[in-house]
């Protein structure tokens, strides 16, 4: 992981966002996060899987077993209704904070 410190809330938000369009298995989620953040965030399994399990237990994600692109069994995660609501509220919250921080940093 590069210098950027991945806060837990940020990781949750990124996972929710990565799963917004379609269901994915763990490795794909990791790649997707790398892709949508332009390579800034690279989530390692040691952080990713605990987060996935935690979010599943919280009811934001549901998981099913399916075949991966190369026909191997894998656990696919998808957003639940609660997960979508969570994504929405976290996004709003993040935007508020980002705006506030940006304006704070921009102040002279």
């Amino acid at each position: 992981m590069p210098a950027t410190n991945l806060l837990q809330g940020t990781l949750d938000l990124l996972i929710l966002k990565a799963l917004a369009l379609t269901e994915m298995h763990g490795l794909a989620i990791s790649h997707r996060i790398g892709q949508i953040t332009g390579g800034t965030f690279q989530v390692k399994p040691g952080s990713l899987f605990p987060a996935l399990h935690r979010m599943e237990e919280a009811g934001w994600l549901s998981a099913v077993w399916g075949d991966s692109e190369n026909n191997r069994r894998a656990k696919f995660y998808r957003l639940t209704a609660a997960g979508r609501r969570q994504l929405k509220s976290e996004t709003e919250q993040w935007e508020t904070i980002a705006l506030a921080i940006a304006s704070a940093l921009g102040a002279s």
Partner: protein
Amino acid sequence: MPFLSRLASLGRNLFARPRVERELDDELRACLDQLTEEKRRGGMGPSEARRAAGIDFGGVEQVKEEVREVRTGRILEELLQDLRYGIRTLLNNPAFTLVAVLALALGIGANTAMFSVAYGILLRPLPYADADRVAVVFMRYFPRDFAFGTMCMRDYLMWKENNRAFENPSLFRSLRMDIGGKEGVPEQVQGATVTAGFFSTLGVHPLIGRTLAAGEDEPATSSLALLSESIWRRRFGASSAVLGQTILVNGAVATVIGVMPRALRFPGRDTEVWTNLPLNPPTRYGPWFYRGVARLKPGVTLPQAQDEVNQIGLRMMQQNPFYKRLTLPVLGLRDALLGVTLKPAILVLAGAVGLVLLIAVVNVANLMLARATVREREMALRLSLGAGRGRLVRQLLTESVLLGLMGGAAGLALAWGGIELIRAWNPGNLPLIDSVRLDAGALGFMVFVSILTGALFGLAPALECARADLNATLKEGGRGGGGHARGRMRAALVVAEIAVSLMLLVGAGLLLRSFVNLQRVSGGFSAPPGQVLTMLISPGNRKYNDDRIGLAFYDEVLRRARNVPGVEAAAVTDSLPPDRQGDADTFGIEGQTLALGEMNPIISDATIGPDFFRVLGIPLVRGRYFTDHDNGDSTPVAIVSEGFVHRFLPNQEAIGKRIRQSEPGFGNKWMEIVGVVGNVKYLGLAVDTDPAYYMPFAQTYGPRAFLTVRSSGDASRLSAALRRDIQSIDPGVTLAQFSTMEQVRQLSISQPRFDTMLLGLFAGIALLLAAVGIYGLIAYSVAQRTHEIGVRMALGAARADVVRMVVRQGASLAAIGIVLGLCGAFVLTRLLETMLFGIGVTDALTFAAAPAGMMVVVLLATFLPAFRATRISPVVALRYE
């Protein structure tokens, strides 16, 4: 929804753990495989790809552990895991577990039992409505001077007239009652006669029927009786037809109006019949038979009531110059039931038992510390495998709390046995013992104490374990890094143990010495107490109130008693030492001049038959005993005690002087003193002898009397024959309170015995625990020093040297503990001051014997491991690395 999801996860994590784990494994392996696949597609060889993927992934097991950490129910799961692990560890060390559980069981068991006793006697709500608002009013005055004495009807009426603090002041008197009637053979029971407000004051309701109505204590009311549940079942087969039936109470007819529940145990715990007390207008002061009981009006406190009653007491003194220094002590119902000596004794015992628990805890902490050394490697290994230190502390604490609970469970069994034992010990006169039982409160107390002790003795070793230095420990191969500091701590704990148990030992020693003193006190009679049988005879029928009929009856009783095989002598009396004091009265001496309003003190007076002194073996000092010729037709005579002569007729010839019972104006005749006898204790063994005067039964007859017989052997065997022979004179006669003088004696000192046995037991447990503690420490230290001892012996140290070395270690610890313990005892034994008889709180013998005994025990406990140390073979010891 999120809650339901959590709940489902919790269930899955706890109960479908294998599946959850398998799925986690599958998921992570799949991911790792995919990663490897990607690497290969990126152009790596198979093994290189696997290695690179492994590095990127970061270790399947670690990731699993991370996932487990965030699972719902993680703490619960860990707890279960710790418990399983703890049980396994404890089972793997049966010796350690057994010793620890036993020590804790003794400590917690003794505490739970003592808690139940203290709670039952001091705290458990009395079975009366708002019992803390009920007070008992006593009367104390000189020259009578009984701390919790009685008042007479005139005093009551004055109190009632001037009362504002209490609702409906009531009056009661305890007395023996002969109960007879169509329903069965006559029997004698404990009874009470009470005014109409008595039952409403206590707030008790009848099982069936009713209690006394207002006005049913007015002069002309017919006699009414209330029965206890026990006598109702015994004599009336629990039939409700008893209501309205008449029974004979002391020969007079009374109508049964109600049955009271078992919970009503007032005024006595064995009171079985309550009758109404008619408030006949008194014509004079006395008799002083009564105590008051009343409920405080709302908003009035006990001290306020006491203030008011004090004012009334002042008026009583103004009206009657006879009363000197009169006070009316007002006691809450519980304090009145407990008396003055029990509460401090129970508090002392509760404190002592707390110390026993402290010793048990120290003992187990010591064991844990010893084991911590052995387990250091295990802990270091687990730390290095990634266990968190917090997690280790938690696990060790779980283990010690588990140990505490095991000790508590075993202690509960001990407590139950202990309480049964205490109830059995109690010879029937420890008040409120019936409310002592093992209940939910005691159970809660036990669990609380168990957890607390578990945490207490587990905390220090647990924290230390978690602090352990990994590298040092692993390198040292388990010989223990923090050994030195830990050894010092263990030694300090053992010193504390010895000090505290010595304090208990000194306390128990003082009580024991005091009790032995009490046992040795002569009641003033020399007859072997096991060879004297006493019983209370009550003729029941009112015709015996006539002294001619009564005396003839008692002559026949004595004749038949003397004919019973084994009886050597028999006599009647209305008083018996050591505490069945019959009557007390003032007296006059012919020729004595007293200032106006002055009177002689009220002292014991006994009415006795001719052979009384011979039966009990009370020595004649001068003059003669009474004879059969001292009867209603001859000159009135009296005998006085040596104490009487010493105090009231000093330096005078007592024989031939004349004295008179009671005050002038009661028509009592002058009685000529014909003899002087030795002092007898009628007020209890621990009370200073009071002077007494005796009158012949045939000249001052009363219908109820004790029969005392002296036998050649064990007197208790005579009971059946005496009962049969006496009742064959008149089947209406009741006989009660059969007991040998030995039993009477023991009963009179049952509370000191209770205190002594309990404190002795506690001190014994403490001593045992301390011995185990020092044994453990020395044995462990010898084991640790095997190598050193081996070297010493190889270099020529004799066995005696080794023994001396080891014993010196134990003895020096004991010496420190003993000095500290003596200092503590010096301070703490002051609490025992009121419980001691015949010795001071710093009794030299006790303060010398207890440390000596302690030292012997310590040396014994040390000698065993010391002896074992001499068996160490140098060769083996040096190989022992």
